[in-house]
């Protein structure tokens, strides 16, 4: 099959700017929602300062370690605030919808960062965006569905084996591929 790539579909610069906007919006939304229940405490400005600083690096240099750091930072901030909520006299923990919103925004930020790192300032054919959106939807929609199921179950105090089973299944889904992909120096390059 032969296909002539329609290179004039997008003008140079338009798509990279759009991706930049999506990247910023997703990161900002994730940061704001993850730190929202810190309310007016001093902790929130500190967390915002840290996350926005690292996020700026991630946006300026897509594909760098800053992308991982800012995503981990958002998750850590969320974890710290929800774990120490009662000790710090914070507002109520985020709702299930907010958790799903954080998960969605984090994944969109991750996927946008990946695309920006891959294509740089290139003129994009529409096929790249179509494929990217499909890959995004293929991971995000089932992921959010799993999240809805997990969050809809009773709180995990050890007495609900169903969500624990789901978590173990997801962990397995992570571990198996990681083992498959792991480098094996004892194998020659030709075999892989």
């Amino acid at each position: 099959m032969n296909r002539m790539a329609a290179m004039t579909r997008f003008r140079p610069g338009v798509v990279p700017v759009s991706l930049l906007v999506v990247h910023i919006a997703a990161l900002v939304a994730a940061i704001m929602v993850a730190t929202s229940h810190a309310g007016g405490t001093v902790l929130r400005p500190v967390l915002l300062f840290f996350l926005v600083s690292v996020g700026a690096f991630a946006i300026v240099w897509p594909g760098s370690a800053a992308g991982l750091v800012v995503l981990l930072g958002v998750v850590t901030a969320y974890g710290v605030l929800t774990s120490l909520g009662s000790a710090l006299d914070l507002a109520a923990s985020p709702s299930a919808l907010q958790v799903l919103l954080i998960a969605g925004c984090l994944y969109v930020a991750h996927a946008t960062d990946a695309l920006r790192a891959a294509v740089g300032g290139a003129v994009l054919d529409s096929s790249v965006l179509r494929r990217w959106l499909r890959r995004l939807a293929e991971a995000l929609l089932p992921g959010l569905a799993v999240g809805v199921v997990v969050l809809a179950l009773p709180p995990g105090d050890g007495g609900s084996p169903l969500w624990l089973l789901g978590a173990v299944a997801l962990l397995t889904a992570t571990a198996v591929p990681a083992v498959r992909v792991a480098r094996r120096p004892w194998r020659s390059a030709g075999q892989d």
Partner: protein, 445 residues
């Protein structure tokens, strides 16, 4: 214009068959999935598991899609010679056995080549078993020896989480021949030197142009006898005609300086651009008329092109002119040496911005020995800066006066100075030279 040169054989496509290596995207997916799931399990927090779910599923799908990709890329440039101002059909073909989410083609080009849409870097997706042909939109904007490529292709597969090794396709050489400026002179040249051609020679002999009538002498052909005049005058008289001969033209290209911006066809034209395009146009015109042309490149180094005759030699001239450039080092030429190499009676057309004193000296030497010379001023009108302070304006004025004085001295010595961009200027100068060569002269007795 076509070239008789044999094009270089196209290199074989470059093929890579390998598994992609995990990149930062894969690391991010793995770390986030692991950390969130471990935290969710150890702290019994379903919200962490919900946060991990998209990353875990994304990681799982990524691994599933990872295959052994066999990719090959090919750069095709349909010709090795092109006239400036024209496009070249250049394509990059990418084939892959498995899906590639983003194939980034980074095309580098040599000077004088413009990629339409400024798309030096472009990205597209390739489905498994598919072949994508990307038109590079190459436009040859300025003459010179240049190249398309190298082309560097980076491919990302399996949800952009795996990178294939970067593939580089070597460059394709491209000769961008100068587009000759329009020059359609019909003026006769001052001295006809060779045995046949189109110019009216001042020598008398066989030809069509009537030169006069004279008494018959031994050796005249009988068919030249004009019987009517002979019967009227009572003795044999013959009709004389001007012979038709070719001329020899020497084109001096002053490449010692390059003044003004050089943006290719449609943009700013530097003095060297003007000289090369003028040389091409002049050579094309005189070769088409059957005259012989020699080209001499007088920059810091000195280059000669052999005597050209016939339309086919225009390609040789155009390719030779491609090497006209500002030299960084070389022997310093002296006017006397060049003057000695110019054939006597040949018409000399000096294409120069009149910025090098040696060029003026050379023209003066040629005039001293009676050579017909026309100076074609190639300094572009917009080469002179406009935003100047008081001292710079003063300096510019002095420079302009000195240049005008040089031109006036050349004109006084019988060498017309005409700007190349002025329509018909060179034609008028050639007519004036032809008329002057046939005018009566005072003989020294």
């Amino acid at each position: 214009m076509t070239s008789g040169a044999v094009p270089e054989p196209a290199p074989a496509p470059i093929a890579v068959a390998a598994r992609g290596t995990p990149n930062a995207v894969f690391v991010r997916l793995s770390v986030l999935s692991s950390v969130l799931l471990v935290l969710g399990l150890t702290l019994a927090r379903p919200d962490f598991v919900a946060l991990a779910a998209p990353f875990t599923i994304g990681l799982f799908l990524t691994i599933l899609r990872r295959g052994r990709e066999a990719v090959d890329i090919d750069l095709q440039v349909d010709r090795s010679d092109v006239v400036e101002g024209h496009g070249v059909a250049a394509t990059v073909t990418v084939r892959s056995t498995s899906d590639l989410d983003a194939v980034v083609v980074d095309v580098r080009t040599g000077p004088g080549i413009v990629l339409l849409g400024n798309a030096g870097r472009r990205a597209f997706a390739v489905a498994g078993g598919e072949e994508v042909v990307a038109d590079l939109g190459v436009y040859a904007a300025r003459w010179g020896r240049t190249h398309v490529g190298p082309v560097v292709v980076t491919a990302h597969g399996a949800g952009l989480a795996f990178d294939l090794p970067a593939m580089s396709r070597p460059l394709s050489r491209l000769n961008v021949l100068p587009r000759g400026d329009a020059f359609g002179s019909e003026a006769s040249l001052p001295n006809a030197v060779t045995s046949a051609g189109t110019h009216r020679s001042w020598l008398r002999g066989d030809g069509l142009d009537l030169a006069g009538v004279r008494p018959f002498v031994f050796g005249d052909r009988l068919r030249r006898v004009d019987w009517r005049i002979s019967s009227r005058l009572g003795s044999l008289h013959v009709v004389e005609a001007h012979t038709e001969r070719s001329s020899e033209v020497v084109v001096l290209v002053d490449s010692g300086q390059d003044v003004g911006g050089s943006e290719g066809i449609g943009g700013a034209t530097s003095s060297l651009d003007a000289a090369v395009r003028a040389a091409t146009g002049i050579t094309a015109r005189f070769l088409a008329r059957g005259d012989a042309v020699r080209i001499v490149d007088v920059g810091t180094r000195l280059r000669f092109l052999r005597r050209l005759a016939g339309r086919r030699d225009l390609v040789i001239a155009a390719e030779w002119l491609l090497d006209t450039r500002l030299p960084t080092a070389g022997e310093a030429w002296v006017p006397e040496r060049v003057a000695a190499l110019v054939p006597p009676r040949a018409l000399v057309l000096a294409l120069t911005p009149l910025l090098d004193e040696r060029m003026t000296t050379l023209v003066a030497r040629l005039r001293q020995r009676g050579q017909p010379v026309v100076v074609v001023d190639t300094l572009p009108p917009d080469a002179v800066p406009t935003e100047l302070d008081e001292y710079e304006r003063l300096g510019l004025r002095m420079w302009a006066m000195e240049r005008e004085r040089t031109a006036a001295l050349l004109v006084e010595s019988g060498c017309p100075v005409v700007p190349w961009h002025e329509s018909g200027g060179l034609d008028d100068a050639l007519r004036a030279l032809a008329a002057a060569s046939s005018a009566p002269r005072m003989a020294a007795r």
